[in-house]
């Protein structure tokens, strides 16, 4: 008999007194944790495949279920954590690369949580956002170096293409394939209602969503899935994906099982084949090649769309960003190492890249030192969790933020980090029709609108507290931030003072 080295990670506790045997849990769990034994008329539980997504708990009408960490753990060891040992068991049993999803869960410093925001007292007034105007609109894109007057003395108001955001939060790239149709529909509708943008991700744009084009960023990744002239023209902007915070330096791989008829049509690849995005763009091996891709996209779209270049935050990010700012790109999106993913090798996700806070601070400083900050706008992503993170990112120097994980949580994601299995019980990271149906895009869209509307209110409250009534006066305004518990080196990189200074 084959020995199973791994005990289940979670334990399902069912309260026999409360259970009414409605069998909803049996129907809801796509991982097959629950089965109904007809002969014994009991619910049989096997936690082997339980991912603790809490779907059964949330839907149980009598609150009879509880999922908790299995306390049948290994002997405690300060060096060999239980996780480490489990991973070795998995690899020894399979010979496979460990594959994980969602953002880096390891305990690295979260600098957002070590930065505090200022407020006005006496020397200048705070502003009440409920009564006074409070502006959160931003324009992303290249700004001209100097104003030009026409012959009659009036100002030539023509500008390179800009993205207009009513709130400085955009939905980050999540491809159709990695997430479901209903997720895309929710994001698209919400972006439209909020006056912001969602991002098609690298899997093409479903024909049903071309109507949201004015609020869509279409992505061009190394796989070039679904990229054609109409696609490039469909969006308000084009994003070149050079890298992703969760997996810098490596490509993407959508397994063939997720490539059903609809995904196949959108990505323009045959059903059932893997969709592989090579690690690099094979037409970009050097910075001058990036310029070639940027300009080729502009030529193909008549210079009407801003081009975003998305890069993962890596050690040399400031120099990289400086190169991008001179490449003709209009916007740089930086994705920190805690950014989410539908699937990434565990070791890469957990060990490669740097925090967005440090990357953003260095990039903004570098671009200003070189006097080219107006060449590009900056979008920061890679675990923006709240409106406070947004405020801090903007004060460090971002023009806007990308949110991915936070948006998925709004749609019901419980961060069980099992997207790679394709059996998301919440209908998010799956292509299984019965599971996809569980996310009603009408509800999803409303929840996203609620989330961002709430954040916008909070952003205004915090801005008002600082005596700032327009978000552009917060951008790069690092005096509004103070560090707590940070070393001088960290403070220097962030360009902020310590609390009390």
């Amino acid at each position: 008999m084959k020995i199973n080295y791994l005990s289940p990670e979670f334990e399902v506790v069912r309260n026999e007194d409360r259970c009414i045997k409605c069998l909803l849990c049996v129907k809801q769990c796509a991982n097959g944790v629950y089965t109904y034994d007809e002969t014994k008329q009991t619910i049989v539980i096997d936690e082997t495949n339980c991912v603790n997504c809490q779907r059964c708990v949330a839907l149980c009408p009598t609150r009879a279920l509880k999922v908790r960490k299995n306390d049948c753990g290994l002997r405690e060891n300060g060096n060999w954590s239980e996780n480490t040992i489990r991973e070795i068991f998995k690899q020894a049993g399979s010979g496979g690369i460990l594959l994980s999803s969602m953002g880096n869960p390891e305990k690295y410093p979260v600098y957002w949580d070590k930065i505090l925001i200022n407020a006005s007292q006496v020397t200048n007034p705070s502003i009440d956002p409920l009564r006074e105007p409070m502006e959160t609109r931003v324009f992303l894109g290249k700004k001209p170096p100097s104003m030009v007057r026409k012959e009659d003395g009036s100002i030539d108001c023509s500008l390179p293409p800009q993205l207009k955001l009513d709130v400085p939060v955009m939905f980050a790239a999540m491809s159709y394939g990695s997430v479901s149709y209903n997720v895309h529909k929710s994001l698209a509708k919400a972006a439209q209602a909020l006056g912001t943008y969602y991002n098609s991700g690298e899997g093409g744009l479903h024909e049903d969503f071309y109507c949201y084009g004015e609020n869509t960023v279409v992505q061009v990744a190394s796989g070039r899935f679904g990229v054609h002239k109409n696609y490039l023209e469909a969006g308000a902007a084009i994003e070149i994906k050079m890298g992703q915070g969760a997996k810098p330096g490596i490509g993407g791989h959508l397994p063939g099982v997720k490539v059903g008829p609809d995904v196949s049509r959108t990505r323009m690849i045959p059903e059932g084949t893997d969709a592989i995005s090579p690690a690099p763009h094979h037409d970009i091996y050097s910075i001058e090649d990036l310029r070639q891709l940027v300009i080729s996209l502009k030529e193909a779209t008549g210079y009407q769309k801003p081009i975003i270049v998305k890069v993962a935050a890596v050690h040399n990010i400031a120099a990289i960003a400086s190169g991008i700012a001179r490449s003709g790109a209009d916007i740089i999106a930086i994705d920190g190492f805690r950014g989410g993913t539908g699937a990434a090798p565990t070791r890469i996700r957990d060990n490669v890249g740097i925090p967005i806070e440090l990357a953003l601070a260095s990039v903004d400083r570098q671009l200003r030192d070189e006097g080219i900050r107006t060449n590009v706008s900056l979008i920061a992503g890679g675990s923006i969790r709240s409106s406070a993170d947004v405020i801090k990112a903007i004060a460090l120097g971002a023009d806007a933020c990308y949110i991915g994980t936070a948006a998925l949580i709004a749609l019901g994601c419980h961060l069980c980090r099992s997207c790679q299995k394709g059996k998301c019980n919440w209908g998010i990271a799956t292509q299984v029709p019965e599971l996809v149906e569980r996310l009603d895009p009408e509800v999803g869209y409303q929840r996203l609108v609620n989330l961002i509307t709430a954040w916008k209110r909070e952003i205004k409250e915090m801005m008002g507290g600082m005596g700032i009534n327009s978000i552009e006066a917060l951008r790069g305004n690092r005096l509004m931030l103070r560090g707590v518990g940070l070393t001088q080196k960290e403070l220097d990189i962030l360009g902020i003072k310590h609390a009390g200074e």
Binding site: T123, N124, K143, P144, R373, A473, G476, L479, M480
Partner: protein, 364 residues
């Protein structure tokens, strides 16, 4: 030792006042000093100053550098530096009057200079940019030396003390100007450094300012991309550089500059005509990092005129009036009445609405 401006950011409240004769009629500094007396309570004795325009007619083609020196050593180092860069046609101590309440005066000297022609040609700069870089260089790199006035036919006079004492100390009653601006300062700690007093000047722009802006670091980090160095970390300094950048380098008009730093709200822009909308949206897109938020009232002096401007929410007070060919502006009406008891057309400019006064053609 407490930190000086430049080493730390010091918020301060203030009083401001200005008078200008549209026909270019000369006025001694007496009246502008008097205007500061009723606003004594708005200052706390830690800084006062004045700017006068048209005061050096015999040297009007030369940049007048007013410099504070900590000691003879810093003076020697600075003069050594200047020697290679500019031709000095006259230099002297600025005459002062012993005044109770003004202490710890540094060496205060005045140099009338012109760029060294061959150095200017080699630099490929125009003379304004050339002098601006020299000023920034001295203020950044020569310890103990600080250029606090650098325009042509104008001068800034400032010190630690109450403004009325500062005015008497500098014998402003002996100068004649077609335009005066004044400032009394209420800083929130006590560095006691003369360079930190106001007005702040660069070339012939001078600014007096009241209020603590909330956009400071956003403005500073943007403007420093264009060669400016905010060594003092004061609001006035950054606003002066913004004015210089927008007016001199970007060639905006005063009205346009006001639409940048005190930009109308989007909701207001949407109510404008299409042509206005286009320009205002352009400014808010291109110069968004130069929007100044938080309370401010400023008076910008320049050759041949001045401009007064409030922040767009009008969080600071400002009053304007006229008397004959004179326009008077101050934080309080009392200051105006101290200069001209019978001033007329008292008005209260709206937030973000600039008051621009220019001398009549040929009047200066």
């Amino acid at each position: 030792m407490s930190k000086l401006e430049g080493q730390i950011r010091i918020p301060s409240g203030c009083a401001i006042s200005a008078v200008i004769s549209k026909t270019g009629e000369k006025m001694t500094g007496e009246k502008i000093i008097e205007s500061m007396i009723p606003m004594h309570e708005r200052s706390n004795g830690l800084g006062g100053g004045f700017a006068g325009y048209g005061i050096y007619p015999e040297y009007k083609d030369f940049f007048a550098l007013h410099i504070f020196f900590r000691d003879a050593l810093s003076r020697r180092e600075c003069e050594e530096y200047l020697k290679d860069k500019v031709e000095i046609v006259k230099q002297e101590s600025i005459h002062v009057r012993k005044t109770p309440g003004i202490k710890d005066a540094p060496l205060i000297r005045r140099y009338f200079v012109a760029p060294m022609p061959c150095a200017l040609a080699a630099s490929q700069l125009d003379e304004n940019e050339y002098i601006m870089r020299i000023v920034i260089q001295i203020n950044t790199d020569i310890a103990g030396a600080y250029v606090f006035s650098s325009g042509k036919n104008m001068g800034i006079f400032k010190a630690v003390g109450y403004p009325e004492d500062v005015g008497r100390f500098y014998r402003l009653d002996e100068y004649e100007a077609y335009c005066w601006t004044a400032h009394g300062r209420y800083p929130t700690n006590t560095p006691g450094w003369w360079g930190g007093a106001h007005p702040f000047g660069l070339l012939d722009y001078s600014i007096v300012h009241n209020g603590e802006i909330s956009s400071y670091d956003a403005n500073r980090r943007f403007i420093e991309m264009f060669g400016y160095r905010c060594t003092l970390q004061t609001d006035t300094e950054v606003i002066t550089y913004i004015a210089d950048f927008l007016l001199r380098k970007q060639k905006l008009t005063l009205q346009e500059m006001a639409s940048v730093i005190a930009a109308p709200f989007w909701s207001e822009i949407e109510r404008k005509t299409d042509a206005e909308k286009e320009v205002l949206a352009y400014f808010r897109t291109v110069y968004s990092s130069l929007l100044v938020t938080g309370p401010f009232s400023i008076i910008l002096g320049f050759t041949g005129g001045l401009m007064a401007l409030n922040d767009r929410l009008k969080l600071r007070s400002m009053v304007t009036a006229e008397k004959g060919d004179k326009v008077l502006i101050a934080s309080e009406e009392a200051a105006i009445r101290a200069m001209e008891p019978d001033a007329e057309n008292i008005a209260y400019p709206a937030g973000g609405e600039p008051v621009i006064v220019r001398l009549k053609e040929g009047a200066y």
